[in-house]
Each structure stands twice: as C-alpha cells, then as structure tokens.
C-alpha cells in the first residue's frame, strides 16, 4: 500500500464538524445537557418521544448558531427552517431527527488557517445548521440485549460543513483546530473531544493533479481527535490511490476509522440506501431572525482569534507564529496579557517566550489547562522582573520557576531563601576573578599569547567558584579588564 501521497495525486478533503452547543438545556426540551449522568435520567417526555409531545426551540441554541455565523462573516438566514430526517433506529426515539436541510441558520462563510510554511489559506464554510443529537446504543455488558441511553438525545449540535477546500490531512487538521479554537472563543462549545462535544466526519477523495473533476469520495464518520483525523485521512488517501492505481474504482460509501488498526473500513452495508425523506417539520414554524436579534448577538462577540493575534503582533512586536500560539485560546491570551500587564509591555517578548516555553512545558507535564496553572500570571511576572533587573540570570530563573511550580512560593521568597541572588558587587566579583587567575597560570599564559577562546574557560571557572551567581554581563566586562590589565603589567 502506498504510504506517502504520490506527487501526481491531489487530495481533496471537506469536513462536517459537529460542535455540541453549550446550552444548559436541550434544543427542543427542557432536559439538562450535563454529561455523565446515569442513563436516561436526563430524558423527559419530549426526548422519549411520547405520544402528543411537541418540540420547542431553545432560543439560546439559535443565538449560538448566529454567533458562530457572525464570527466567520457568514450570511445569516433571515428565515430558517427545521426539517425532519426520517429513519428508524432505537436511539432515535421519534423515528426522525430534527435538523435543517434547505434553509440553515448560517450560510456561506470562511475561515483562515495558517499552514506549516506560514502561508495563510482560506477555507470556505458552506453552511452551518442546528440539529439535535441522537441517543446512544449500548451493546456491551448486556446479555442478549442492547441498552438505549437517551440522555444525549436532543442535545443541540451545530453542524459546520466546509467546502472541499483542503488539500491534505494536515490542512484538514489545521482547519478543525481553527474551528475548535473559534467555538471555544465564542463560548458556544466546550470543545471536549473525549466526551464527543466536538467531532467530525471527513469527506475524502483523490484526483490526478490537474484534473478538473473531483474523484469519488468516501465519508469517514465520527472522528473525535485531531490525530485520528490526520491518520484516518492519510490512510484513506493511500487506500484510494491504491484502488485506482490497481485498476479499481473508489466506491462512494461511509467508512469508519479503527484507531487500533489504523485503517478505515466500510460501515456495515445497509440492505438499501437510506432515503431520509427530508421535509419541513410542521411542529416548528420557520424561525425568523431579525436585525435586532443579529445586533444583540453581535454585541456579545468577543475579540476573535485572528484579531487577537494581529493585536499581539502589532502591540507587542511578536512574530506571527508567536502571536498565533498565544491567541490559540482565550485563556492563553488572557494569561499572557495579564503577565505582560504586570511586567510591562517592553518585556512582552520575554513573557511570550516563558509562556510558550517553560510554562507550557510544565502544564503539559502535569496535564493542566492554563487556567489551572500553579503559577499565576502575576507570579510569573514577578520572576521575570528579577531577570529584567539582573537579580538572577535566565538560567537560575528556570530553577526558581520549577520551585515556584512545586512549592507555590513567590520568586523573591525563593531567591532569598536559596540565596540565588546574583553577585553584582564589582569588588566581590574581582576577588573571585583574581583567585581564578592565580590558580590557572598556564591558561593565563596561553590566553596572553593570543589564545582568545580561553576567555570562556575563565568565565566557567569564575561561575563555578561562585555557584553560577555572578552577573554574566558584569563578569564579562571585569574579566576582560583583569586579563587585559595583567597582560599590560607583564
């Protein structure tokens, strides 16, 4: 099987992302949407599809969909229609899913993604529509039976459908990450992929480079991690190329990705093709979205990721890459800005390096979100201030930071306690230098005879003698003078 994408093939990917909206209650009933409750404890008569019950649209879900549309500069439908998608399955109590078909809330929009080489690419969003989630079928742990949990039934979803604009698995992941960032910025989705709050279906096809028409696509269902998206697409691309190069044809079908085996497989074939018989849901009137609603939602839009990144680059002199990393989540941006505010804008680059470097490292090591950081932005700024005022070196600061993380003390307290304050007293430094020079006559002679690189040797010896606490800049200056002075004496 081909493991690398061949140069004469072009990959075409479109994603359908399902973002679970962060409403307190379901999209058409008053049941809670909280995750992890005992089965069927969050399903009321509407969710259970009892005879005679009717759906009522959750206004908050609609506002969230509008918010997403505004954030991607999409057309917002003035009149939007809910439709029924009819099929039988035990976890679909009504025998139909309420979704949107012809008139979704959100029309055409676009998302900008940054590729590995720094190039910016625009991916089209075809539409985004509201729909209800189904329940869950449980087949394991039950003898001769299947269980149905309807807690998830009726949970609001925003299905975000992209244009087939992505040309590699990496682009698809970059797009999905960007949407993930955006929905969390907008606070319309918690983005929790383990709990299924954010997942996607990938439509994948290949075509000969230069071909005008798309190849036949396969749809890979229910991918719930960025890594799976990337691997599943890579596998599927290689599979399709193999099929075509082997003289076969790609079949339009739905496939599932098996992460254990890293392969995609056709879903159990249905005896007949599904005909969902979409038609407008007569229980729900068309939703009228007026200017007042749009304006009130627009007023709640936060600074968006692209705007924040541009501001970071402009105001703090950061590179596009750094600005992008620091604006990837609202929490990271807020942490960074708080640290800069405490430290002073002139030292923003230093703060950026520390947030992206040491802080990020310890957060990853301990599996923490930045909001749960053991070192607050103020405390980090306190540490960085000591670098700025030359109390400690950057190297010592790393040790202090580790101690702050584990002991929860301030940088100043730790510097004091451990005696890490830099030696900046010139006479004290000169004393150490004198002792080192006196102890190394051979090296001194070689230096004098022109072996300049021995300067580093003397620096190392002095720092070693002083436990690394000598201010490096002062040391350089004084050492240079001492060595030169002795040379002059001779």
């Amino acid at each position: 099987m081909a493991t690398e994408v061949q140069l004469d093939w072009e990959v075409v990917v479109g994603l359908e992302i399902h973002a679970q909206l962060a409403t307190r209650s379901k999209i058409f009933s008053g049941s809670s949407t909280a995750y992890g409750s005992a089965p069927n404890t969050q399903a009321d008569l509407v969710d259970l599809a009892y005879p005679g019950v009717l759906p009522v649209l959750n206004a908050e879900a609609l506002r969230m969909a509008v918010k997403f549309g505004l954030a991607i500069d999409a057309q917002i439908a003035r009149r939007s229609v809910f439709a029924r998608k009819n099929y039988f399955y035990p976890d679909l109590p009504k025998g139909y899913q309420i979704s949107q078909y012809e008139q979704p809330v959100v029309g055409k929009g676009a998302i900008r993604i940054v590729l590995d080489d720094g190039a910016v690419k625009t991916v089209g969003v075809t539409r985004a529509h509201l729909e209800e989630d189904a329940g869950k079928s449980l087949h394991e742990g039950l003898a001769n039976a299947s269980g149905i949990d309807l807690n998830r039934a009726g949970t609001p979803l925003l299905e975000i459908v992209s244009e087939p604009d992505m040309r590699s698995a990496k682009e698809a992941v970059a797009y999905m990450k960007k949407i993930h960032t955006l929905v969390r910025y907008l606070e319309i989705c918690d983005g929790n992929m383990q709990e299924g709050s954010f997942r996607c279906d990938a439509n994948v096809s290949v075509r000969r480079r230069g071909a005008a028409a798309f190849g036949t696509r396969a749809e890979i269902k229910n991918l719930n991690s960025f890594r799976f998206v990337e691997k599943a697409i890579q596998y599927e691309v290689a599979r399709q190329i193999d099929v075509i190069e082997g003289g076969g044809k790609v079949v339009q079908e739905t496939r599932l990705y098996d992460s254990d085996k890293n392969e995609t497989r056709p879903m159990r074939s249905k005896e007949e093709a599904n005909d969902y018989r979409y038609f407008p849901d007569p229980d729900l009137l068309p939703v009228e979205i007026d200017e007042a609603l749009i304006a009130s939602v627009r007023a709640t839009l936060p600074e968006l990721p692209d705007e924040k990144a541009a501001r970071f680059a402009r105001d703090f002199g950061l590179s596009a890459y750094d600005a992008g990393v620091l604006s990837a989540s609202r929490e990271t941006g807020a942490y960074f800005e708080a640290a800069v505010a405490a430290l002073g804008q002139a030292h923003a680059k230093l703060a950026a390096n520390w947030v992206m470097g040491d802080l990020s490292g310890l957060l990853n090591r301990d599996g923490l979100e930045i909001g749960a950081s053991r070192v607050s932005p103020g405390a980090l700024a306190g540490l960085l201030a000591r670098i700025v005022d030359a109390t400690i070196s950057g190297k010592i600061a790393k040790e202090v930071f580790e101690s702050m993380w584990s002991e929860g003390k301030s940088a100043d307290a730790l510097i004091e306690e451990k005696g890490l304050k830099q030696i900046t007293d010139s006479s004290a430094i000169e004393g150490v230098i004198d002792a080192v020079i006196a102890a190394n006559p051979k090296q001194l002679a070689e230096y004098r005879s022109g072996k300049d690189k021995l300067f580093g040797f003397f620096v190392g010896q002095v720092q070693k003698a002083a436990s690394g606490k000598v201010n490096p800049a002062q040391l350089n200056e004084l050492l240079k003078a001492k060595l030169a002075a002795r040379a002059a004496d001779a």
Partner: protein, 484 residues
Amino acid sequence: MLHDLSIGELAERLAGRKVSSLELTRHFLDRIERLNPALNALVTVTADAALASAREADRRLAAGERGRLLGIPLIHKDIFCTDGVRTSCGSRMLEGFIAPYDATIVARLKAAGAVMLGKANMDEFAMGSSNETSFYGPVRNPWDPAKVPGGSSGGSAAASAARLAPYTTGTDTGGSIRQPAALTGVTGVKPTYGRVSRYGMIAFASSLDQAGVLAQSAADAAAVLEVMAGFDPKDSTSVDVPVPDYPALLEAPLEGLKIGLLREFFDGLEARNARLIRDALEVLTSLGAKTLEVSLPHLPMSVPTYYVVAPAECSSNLSRFDGVRYGYRCKEPVDLTDLYERSRGEGFGAEVKRRIMTGTYVLSAGYFDAYYLKAQKVRRLITDDFRAAFEQVDLLAGPTTPTPAFAIGAKVDDPVTMYLNDIYTIGANLAGLPGVSAPCGFVDGLPVGLQLIGPHFSEAKLLCAAHRFQRATDWHTRRPPGYE
C-alpha cells in the same frame, strides 16, 4: 331532564345549588352505562375519577367559586393524553397505554372544574371518516344504528348526540369534528389552526390537526372554546392572540353580515341536501345577513392535496410507534428489523398503514417534487382563494357533507369514495381556517349540517352566526329516538 339542559342552564343550577356536580355526574354515568353498549361511543369510562372530580367541583362551588364549566361533565376524544388514564387513539398500537401527562386542553378544562366521564372512541389515529377504522370497533349513529356517526371524532359525536355528556372534545384534521357533528346532528367547532394547543393531542398531520368541541349548540360550544383556546408555550404552532369572551359575543346582530355561498360546494350535492342548505341561508338572510355566490377555483383540488400532505406528515409522526419504548410490541422479535416490522405491522390497522405507505411514497427521493412539493403549492393556491373570498364576504357557507350518514360497511373497502366524504371540510384545514357545522334539517330521518367557514380567528363571528341561526330554528334541539 338534566341532559336536556344547556351548559349555561347547568352552570346556573350548579351555582344556585339546585343540583350538585355529583348528581349531574351520576346522571350522565348512568346514561353511559345504559346507552353506550349499543353505541360503542366510549372506549373508557372513568367513573371513580369522575365522581372524585365532581366532589371536588362541589367543594369549589360551595366555597363560592363560579365558572362556566365548573362541575359540568364532559367526554374527551381518546386522542388527548390524560394523566394516569388509558389513551389508545383508537389503535391496538396503544392498547393499554396509560398517558403520563395531561394534554394542555385536558389540563385547562380540568383546571376550569370540568369533570371527565371517560374517553371517546375514534377512528384509528384519527384516520377515517366513519369511525370504522377503530381497533375498538365501529361507533353507531344514535339516529340509526346501521349508520356510521362519521369520523374521526365519531365517538365524541355519537356521545354528544345521545346526550352521554353535555359536550365532548374532538379533533379535526380534514373534517373530523364537523363531518361527524353533521352526521349526528350536533354543533361542531373546528377552531383556527393555532387557536387551541396541540400539546398532548396525539399527532396525525401536524400542520392540519386542530382540537375543538362538539356540543348541543353554538352557545355551549362558545363556553367550552373560551376555556380550551389560548396560547401554549409548549406548542410552537399555537398563536399568541387574545381569546375573546365568545359567550359574551353571541348576540351580536347579523345585519350587514356578508355570507358567501361556495359555488363549488353545490356541485354534485344531492338535491334534498342542497334544499336544506338554501333554506338555512334564507333563515340567515331573514336575520339581516346578505348572501352572494363566490367561487374558490382551486377548492376542487383540496382532496388530492390533502391526501398528499396529511399522509406525508403522518408517515413521519407515527414513526415513534416502534415497539421500543411504549405501546404494542410484537412477541419474541428475532432482531431489530423484525421488532419494527411486526410491531408496526400488527399494531397498526389497514387504513393507518395505507396512509403511512402513501406518505412515505410522496416524500421519497424522486417523488418529493411531484407530490409533496406540488401539493404544498396547491395548498397555497387554495389558501389564497380563501383569502380573496374573504375580501368580498365575512363568512362562507355551504353543506358540511355531500350526503347524510351512510351505512356501516358501505364505503370501508373503497378508500377513495370514503375520502370524498370530506370534500367540503378539507379546504378549511388546508387553509388553517375555523369552521362550524350546525344542524339544519333532516333527510330520510338523518341529520344534515350547515357549514360556516370564516377567516383566521373569526370564531366569535362564526359562533354568533350559528347561535343566531339556532335561536331562529330548533334543529339542534331534536333528539335521536331512544335518547330523549
């Protein structure tokens, strides 16, 4: 006799403590016990609960509370969910199903002190025009036991006509209140779509279904409708329009009221029926109304349009009856497909299956545009016809049905002939308009109904016209022999 009294008279006697709700309830329960076996109008009698409700109503009356329906019994069509009471919708699918909640109209009437005596038989899932599709057997017409009472609210109509309760509730998707009201000689009101909540009313065709009332007179119906009507946040299609005090508006003069005679409604109408309708219109003219002939050119397409739209919606609405969570489940299913196929195959009757299949077909890929979409376009044209007509006239008038009640078994094997029985009633459902059927005479000893249709939310005007007509005539006071 107590069952001869109007709702207004009953309320007066209850208020004056001349009769108690308990006595009233016992009187009607006694009639049900004696008369229902021959009619099969009720599928469930809730005697104990009724007596308890009556005692509660008597306590409220004793405490000085007054209400137009307080302490007065009724029978609900078995399509309305009633908390803790069997709700079968005329189907084997819901045999023994106990609803866990009250429909909004049931709750409203309960809160007003109405005393439920039981649940009325009906065509299965309200699909039928003769009450012959009920799993619980046909209902007999009190005027002639060999004849149908109409449908789908056939049990409600027969019970009202036989005075088994002062009034009954019904639902009307294509004529299911007005047609049986006409065929049993009672007054039936189908309100504007959205006037009465559909919450808790088991759906047949959501865009057409509307709950209403079958009563002894327009005045009685006005008192009931005033309680049933009103916005319900649980029904997104209910409309937030204030409910007029219908009983207070009944006596408005008819002078200057312009009534349009629907030309299309007289095409093919039997001569004796046509005569009765023209006589009724003369009565209205004598009361000051003016009549003129109007035409709704697309109205003849209402039956085929309806038999696309209604089955389409029902095919989806009835998908929830799958044998998984409640209702009928086949014995020992071998797998999921078997569970679905046999539970639905055994649980639904022939007419319901016919409509589910029709509806599935018209929504299918490749047929959707030709049937469903086309029907929606025609529906719009019919609605526009009515709108244009109401620019010329205040109300439209015509017969409710083409013929009086037909024999049980006469049409049951011929769906198209059966469907044509609703030819005059379906238009109002497609356009969401309110309609009333009021008794206007007899042909061969069987009642005939005059139908009035008005613009959206014109119930007060319709009830007023029907009431003034009833003050000038006595057709609505006639009793079927044996049910005096």
